[in-house]
């Protein structure tokens, strides 16, 4: 438990394709170990929760109001745009379903992920990029960051998704309660069990990627802070792209 990560995952000096393969393999092993540690009851103790609470509050609590306000505005504008455009083409019956499928299911989870990434990753990255931290970091040090940021993504995505559903209804039907049964039926049609599981899995994987990305700084050696930050942000975007492509492929096939 107290084993240093710098010893568990020693630096790789090779260059070229073989070195790239070894570094990728080390990154995958590191991610797997973090995931296993998160599932292991051995790590779930009070100190982990205290630190995770700090990270969660920093990533989600303090930004919740501004994030929800932005989501409300964007979802209202987007819903209005889609419904008006669809109505002009005589496709108003498809507008709300389009909003739900595109905005709530595809865009909002990614937006929540990127919001947490821009808010929480840079300070964590700066912290883990310090030479002293890199040398002495253990699993217990990185777990709160991973768990806290992943939970923040999940929380923000849930809040924003439900808020967007409400905003979409209000934009289309106003305060009238008479369209609620039809709207509920539409939500029931869109959120079928398979899609709901896929959506939840995608949010979890997004959160895991955002939580994990800054902690991979402890594996890096001989990097200046600026180049390290850039390298890890690119790595995060690549991971998010992989997750998106994977779930897209999963839904297609």
């Amino acid at each position: 438990m107290a084993e240093l990560l710098s010893q568990t995952f020693p630096a790789i000096r090779q260059r070229g394709p073989w070195g790239l393969w070894l570094r990728s393999k080390r990154l995958l092993l590191f991610s797997a170990q973090i995931a296993l540690a998160l599932l292991s009851p051995r790590f779930h103790q009070a100190p982990l929760y205290q630190r995770t609470a700090q990270v969660l509050c920093s990533s989600a609590w303090q930004t919740l109001a501004s994030y929800l306000l932005a989501c409300t505005l964007i979802s209202a504008v987007l819903t209005r745009l889609v419904t008006v455009s669809a109505a002009s083409y005589g496709l108003s019956h498809l507008a709300l379903e389009g909003v739900l499928r595109v905005f709530v299911i595809e865009i909002l989870p990614l937006a929540a992920t990127l919001f947490v990434a821009t808010r929480a990753v840079p300070p964590a990255l700066r912290h883990f990029a310090q030479a002293s931290v890199r040398r002495q970091a253990t699993l217990a040090d990185v777990l709160p960051c991973v768990l806290g940021n992943a939970t923040a993504v999940l929380v923000l995505a849930v809040f924003a998704g439900i808020l967007s559903l409400v905003v979409a209804y209000l934009v289309v039907h106003g305060l009238s309660p008479w369209a609620l049964p039809a709207y509920g039926r539409l939500i029931g049609q869109v959120f079928d069990p398979v899609l709901s599981l896929v959506l939840l899995s995608k949010i979890v994987w997004f959160g895991f990627a955002v939580g994990l990305a800054p902690t991979t700084a402890v594996l890096e050696t001989q990097q200046t802070p600026a180049s390290l930050e850039m390298r890890i942000m690119v790595r995060l975007l690549f991971a998010l792209l992989l997750v998106e492509v994977f779930f897209l492929a999963l839904r297609l096939f």
Binding site: A2, Q50, R51, Q54, Q136, D141, V158, G188
Partner: protein
Amino acid sequence: MSESPLSPHAVPTIAHAQTKAVALLLLAGTLLVLFVLYVMQARGVFTENQQLLLVAENAEGVTVGSDLSFSGFPIGRVSRIELAEDGKAHIHLDIPLTQARWLRTSSIFTLERSVVGSAKLRAYSGMLDDPQLPDGARRDVLIGDAAAGVPELVATAHKLIDNLERLSNADSALSGTLTNLQQFSASLNGKHGALGALLGNEKDVAKVVASLEQTRALLVDARASLQKLDASLVNMQAISSDLRPIVDDAKAISGNVRGASEDLDALRAEVDLNLRKVSGMVDELNRKWPFAREQKLELP
């Protein structure tokens, strides 16, 4: 873990972080659970349903979760679609018991495919007094496909365009007719007007004009002749007035002649009588005459 000298990472310490985090998680969890329950309720998980099986030639465009609508309101949901042994699509529907009253034994089910959007299952119940559709009923679906008519429409439009092209061709009959019509209208506007348009050449037009001139001259002559005839008739009338006494005399003479002819009739009758007497006397004389011969004809 507690032995680690490192802070989780460089975040400012937040007061009551654990309480806030728990509140946040509880709120998110509650919202998530409520949303899941709402979706389950919207999907009819907690509703008591009856089953309906619709048999269609094909189930293209129908997806699990599609609505069955009645008068524009969803009253059921597709729960399963399968390809049956008879090669037809079997569409299984869940109809909530509260909505099942709209489906009757005489109800008709249609599957309509529009050019845009998914296929729509609709139910029509004309006789709401009929018995209610039983649970597990099986009905055939009438398929109305708006897109199916498109190829036929395209073929017809293609044929129409071909016809139009043939009509508008420079060698077409319509074009020839229009050209002739144009020539006709030009002739109408020409020097000889409608006559030139009808006859088509100067020679015939000149002939017709000459004929008209001759006709006019004839008419002048005829008028003069008529005047002469009128004068003759006047003379004839004068002559006839002069002849009238002569005619009266002739009438009197003819009356006298008629009387004379009646006397002649009596005279003729008397002559006939005398002739018959003479004839009888001759016959008598022949009979009494000694050299009288037997007058008998022998037939061969």
